[in-house]
């Protein structure tokens, strides 16, 4: 699996590259600023790009903009965004095109290498990997807003885990229920959010988007 890496801090960049290589991924380019990142993504068309939000030259949301820009040119290009902080606003922007293949994680998640690499692979496969902190914030506020108001607490929980990128099997394991029960919840969620029937992966992305857009 070919990876483009965008991170301006040398130590972190090298560390990430080493970590990914150690887990059998191939880092085809590791760059340290926004424009170089955009070029690398377009040139290499990687299976996934791992991107820091704040980079030179402006030290604002350079990486995020590069990722959005690259996805507008190469639709569905899988991008995993890493950041010191997570914002719902940015999560929404990343998911807005509904094409999936989006991850948005706190940098701390790298500490757990196995889980992190798992997230990278999930994103590369077109799934989502939202940071639990994004989800926690959403859940903390209840769900008074439409259309999520119609979901039961259990369904909201399932939707949250879906947003983190868990499969039905993983969700079943977390909630200690059968996989069939989870499948029932997910189809209820799709129905309540009025998502057209299409392949399951895509509907999962749209459901997460609806979740963030509440």
């Amino acid at each position: 699996m070919r990876v483009v890496l965008g991170e301006d801090l040398y130590l972190l960049r090298e560390g990430l590259a080493r970590l990914l290589t150690a887990h059998g991924l191939e880092v085809v380019a590791a760059v340290g600023d926004g424009p170089a990142l955009l070029d690398a993504m377009i040139e290499h068309k990687p299976d996934v790009a791992v991107v820091d939000v704040r980079m030179p030259p402006t030290f604002t949301d350079e990486g995020l903009r590069a990722a959005l820009d690259a996805r507008s040119r190469i639709p569905g290009l899988p991008v995993l965004v890493l950041s010191q902080y997570v914002e719902q606003l940015y999560a929404r922007e990343l998911l807005a095109d509904g094409a999936g293949g989006i991850g948005y994680l706190l940098k701390d998640r790298v500490f757990d290498a196995a889980q992190f690499v798992d997230a990278v692979r999930r994103v590369a496969a077109g799934g989502t990997a939202m940071d639990p902190e994004v989800i926690a914030k959403l859940l903390a506020h209840g769900s008074a807003r439409e259309p999520l108001g119609t979901l039961t607490p259990r369904e909201l929980e399932v939707l949250g885990l879906m947003a983190e990128g868990r499969s039905n099997a993983a969700i079943a394991a977390t909630l200690v229920v059968t996989e069939r029960a989870v499948a029932k919840h997910t189809s209820n969620i799709f129905a309540k959010l009025d998502l057209p029937p299409s392949d399951d992966d895509n509907r999962r992305v749209l459901a997460v988007l609806a979740y963030l857009n509440r």
Binding site: R54, F59, D61, L64, E87, Q88, L89, D108, A144
Partner: protein, 447 residues
């Protein structure tokens, strides 16, 4: 005589000279006539105080009309004559603005009556109906009178037989003496009036604006009082700013000391112990290292919260608009945000406005019993305006303890910002903030 600032003189086109200046002249004549009505109304309401007391009800109304008219004249002087006139009124005490009932109204009236500028306004209304109208009449009529000269010169037989005046200045058009028809004599005179009017028109409008400034501008004494008030205000807000700053630094120091610093100490200890144990008790060392990792994650979380409190990342990345949108997303209420801002504002103002909105949203969520809140941000005439409207139960005020509104007012006061709260019992509540600030496209650079 009061001073006034004359704005940059605009290039005056022929169109402006021939048409716009006379039209403004006519408008100013109308203004003067209205002033005649106005001062009579004020006088009437004053005289009615002694006779029936009805004047007490009428006077606030007529004085409000007088002030509105004076302010309109100040704006016109700036727009048409390029003369900037400050509003020299004494500021109304905040407790007066909120006082209700008969006594409250009476106190407001007394405050207005005891402001000398009110009586300067009154004197202006009387004199403007003569002086202002006279100046305006010249601006209004010279060009038209010139054109009339040509019309009369050509059409005098028809016009005079219809009973119109047959004199044009000193020319008697129908009694032409030696020459049977002296109508053409009006041509050069008319032309002179048109040329003269074209030259004098804009100047007369400016003269009118200067005349307005004489009585409606601040007296040296009022100017001094305003400066004194300004100094007092600056002293007060500076003290607030210094206090806030010091409190913030103390909070940051405490947070670091009790949070990240303590966690780093624990991490160091754990790692040291793990180092000592790793050969003999690798399992115990592993557990200690896992603990150290956990502590590092917690330290990161705490630092993240701290940074959010100092300068939120979205604000640094995207500016006020998106930062407030992010706030709305984090609010437990349904929050709509509309933004009409230039790319970036002054960083200090952005930050102050951001924390003000954050505080407002927290307030609404805590006290208002609201389900929806609307935030509007816009920037116009060098001022940032923020309104926050909720559908809650109302009754908020800067006076009520623990509402946080007083704190917001104090903090934006450092930037000469002002806050207005409209919150009748039963709601809705609307809080408006206004902070003077220029826009800047500079981005904050932090790494």
């Amino acid at each position: 005589m009061s001073e006034y600032a004359v704005g940059p003189r605009r290039r005056t086109t022929l169109m402006a000279r021939l048409v716009i200046a006379p039209l403004r002249g006519w408008a100013l004549i109308g203004f003067g006539i209205w002033n005649a009505v106005l001062w009579s109304l004020v006088l009437t309401s004053v005289s009615l105080i002694s006779s029936m007391g009805i004047g007490l009800l009428l006077l606030p109304v007529t004085l409000a009309m007088l002030r509105g008219t004076a302010n309109a004249a100040r704006r016109l002087a700036k727009a048409w004559g390029g003369v900037e006139i400050e509003e020299p009124y004494r500021p109304q005490a905040p407790e007066l603005a909120e006082a209700t009932g008969f006594v409250g109204r009476l106190r407001r009236l007394l405050a207005q009556v005891s402001d000398p500028q009110t009586w300067r306004d009154f004197a202006w209304a009387i004199l403007d109906s003569v002086v202002g109208v006279t100046i305006a009449s010249f601006a209004a009529s010279m060009v038209i009178y010139g054109v009339y000269g040509f019309v009369l010169g050509i059409l005098w037989p028809t016009l005079t037989s219809a009973g119109m005046n047959d004199w044009y200045t000193f020319v008697h058009v129908s009694k032409s003496g030696a020459l049977t028809n002296l109508g053409w004599a009006t041509f050069p005179i008319g032309a002179a009036f048109i040329v003269g009017g074209a030259y004098a028109g804009p100047a007369l409008i400016r003269l009118h604006a200067r005349w307005t400034a004489v009585l409606l501008g601040p007296t040296p004494k009022a100017r001094e009082a305003a400066l004194n008030r300004r100094v007092a205000r600056l002293t007060e807000t500076r003290a607030d700013a210094v206090d806030t700053q010091a409190a913030e630094l103390r909070r940051i120091e405490r947070d670091l000391h009790d949070g990240a610093q303590a966690r780093l100490v624990a991490m160091g200890m754990n790692l040291g112990a793990a180092e000592a144990l790793i050969d003999r008790h690798p399992e115990a060392a592993k557990a200690l290292m896992a603990e150290a990792r956990e502590a590092s994650a917690k330290a990161l979380t705490e630092l993240r919260e701290l940074v959010r409190g100092i300068h939120p990342p979205v604000l640094a990345d995207r500016g006020l608009g998106d930062a407030v949108r992010a706030l709305a997303l984090d609010s437990p209420l349904r929050a709509d945000v509309t933004v009409d801002l230039p790319e970036r504002l002054e960083p200090a103002v952005e930050s102050a406005a951001y924390f003000a909105v954050s505080e407002l949203l927290t307030n609404v969520a805590k006290h208002a019993h609201a389900t929806e809140v609307r935030i509007d941000l816009w920037h116009r005439d060098g001022r940032l305006r923020v309104t926050c409207t909720d559908d809650g139960r109302g009754g908020a005020s800067t006076q009520s303890a623990g509402s946080g509104l007083a704190g917001i007012e104090r903090r934006i006061g450092t930037f000469d910002g002002v806050m207005a709260v409209r919150s009748p019992a039963g709601g809705p509540t609307e809080v408006t903030l206004e902070i003077p600030c220029a826009s800047s496209s500079a981005k904050t650079s932090t790494s």
